[in-house]
Assembly symmetry: C2
Homo-oligomer: 320 residues x 2
């Protein structure tokens, strides 16, 4: 019996709150990728929507909750994608959204947050400094702080991906999920462990930002002093205890991958699937590349979680 | 009263035959593109499926019909996308598929046709020579010839895109459709003219392959001696009279665009929507670029019809 913070009925109900533009995303087998990787590869594509990532599923719930409570403003820290999504969901509901991000976040993400009408505050330092700043803004201005992965709506929104995977008429063996703060991994993992317990849930994180993976293996929160990865979307250092507790129950494994594998994963997704993805979205392919025997002959699905990438950097990475 | 070859009830019924993987594709507003183009731009994304184009909608109908008739083989000419789609649909139903294509078709398309298990025959010359060769193979081997745009299933399959556009809760003013043989334009156009007659249907073809557009304007079949465009997917020279007759009834306009605009369209779809597309899929954006006043402030949807592109050529095109 799972004792996570998540709830299946609420997740099912979430489908009625989330704008359909974020739901029922493409799920399809990509034979060209599968041939190169020695397994059957299905793609769950979360980038064909106005914010180009899966985060809209969660922010739709958050924004709907806030307006239901009569609130008019919200603030969040973001590596870039949550901010866009909260900007989108908030804008449609008349919420004033403030996003705090690192000055080092990809310019494309920052530009799109501004374009969505959110107020953007930049901090020196990394995502964790942005989190601190967002918390202090929330306190000063008495505005609701939205915390990715900690706020259950962000996990349960992402969990609707799990409903779609579980209901697919398919022979899935393994789901590969990018691991950052843990909202997507706990959400999707919870639904699969509940509805399709035979499907393996494997979380993938960069070696350069291993805090949550190390925490999962040691079953206690491990923080790191710094991160060093191009996968900006998953580069946190301070795992949230409640999220780790959930993740311990729903993940079958958590693995770390090298930067070179992430880059090769991005390249393969471009060459064999025609997809431009941000580094975090290539983590699943990277995991297969690093351990092909583990996945040989299996049917894996990888969630393509975002495509917000600076093109100059992208071209530098994928060019051979 | 429209007197086309198409039938709305059959098109609605087609949704039950077509594998769901090709249906209900993403339709979403892309603000970043809209800002650059001075209008509201929605994307209908037909590339997130195993064959990376909309053609599966039609080949599902064709292959289902053939197996229903007890046939075991089919042959088609293809610029590259129909061949992949027929290969996919045929393979799942145990049909032997032969595809005839020009040796000059993109290597990516040819490689994927072979990978799908179809027999591939290459001809010197262009798509029209491939059509002749496919017809003679069909006669010699007494195998069913599948003809894109002439076979009503290819039009009515594509027409299911129109159902999805018509049922979207939206303020669409204009649909921009790549025009080649005419299957997609007549299919989508027919449904919209029937269900959403206020939506403008504008077909877009390259200046370097203008046969169908010229035919539409002169209301009679005009052929050309050659084509000269990177948009290989729409480079036909001999319009089919029955298709032209349908198109005359359902299209509001047909416009020609320059190669430079197609390339700029591909570049904008990459930069502002994160989409790698083949040249034919950029025709709609090219049309807006060439006549911004016509679309200013309007809500246009462009059908992103395919992403099968040779990456070397693609990088050459989009590089500034």
């Amino acid at each position: 019996m799972l004792t996570t913070r998540l709830d299946l009925d609420r997740i099912r109900a979430a489908r009625r709150v989330i704008d359909p533009i974020f739901l029922d995303t493409p799920l399809y087998q990509c034979d060209a990728l599968g041939r190169r990787l020695g397994c059957t590869v299905s793609i769950k594509l979360e980038t064909a929507n106005p914010v180009r990532s899966f985060k809209g599923r969660g922010t739709e719930l958050v924004a709907s909750l806030l307006t239901g409570q009569g609130r008019t403003a919200a603030v969040c820290a973001s590596a870039g994608n949550l901010g866009q999504a909260l900007g989108w969901s908030g804008h449609r509901r008349g919420l004033d959204v403030t996003v705090v991000a690192s000055r080092r976040a990809p310019a494309a993400k920052l530009g799109r947050i501004r374009a969505l009408g959110a107020a953007l505050e930049l901090v020196d330092g990394d995502f964790e400094q942005a989190r601190e700043r967002a918390a202090s803004i929330a306190q000063q201005r008495r505005v609701r702080l939205i915390e990715d992965s900690r706020d259950i709506e962000t996990c349960e929104g992402a969990a609707t991906i799990g409903l779609e995977l579980a209901s697919a008429d398919s022979s899935l063996d393994t789901v590969l999920i990018a691991l950052g703060g843990g909202a997507m991994a706990t959400g999707v993992g919870y639904v699969l462990k509940t509805l399709s317990p035979d499907v393996q849930v494997i979380c993938v994180q960069p070696l350069g930002a291993p805090a949550m993976t190390r925490s999962w293996h040691e079953r206690r929160v491990i923080t790191t002093d710094s991160t060093d990865t191009i996968a900006d979307g998953v580069a946190g250092r301070y795992p949230i205890p409640a999220v780790l507790n959930d993740l311990l129950q729903v993940a079958d494994d958590a693995v770390l991958v090298r930067e070179a594998s992430i880059i090769e994963g991005m390249r393969m997704l471009l060459e064999h699937a025609g997809l431009v993805v941000e580094p975090s979205a290539a983590l699943g392919i990277a995991a297969v590349l690093e351990d092909p025997d583990r996945f040989a002959g299996r049917h894996v699905v990888t969630v393509i979680c975002g495509s917000n990438v600076d093109l100059d950097a992208y071209h530098r990475w994928v060019r051979r």
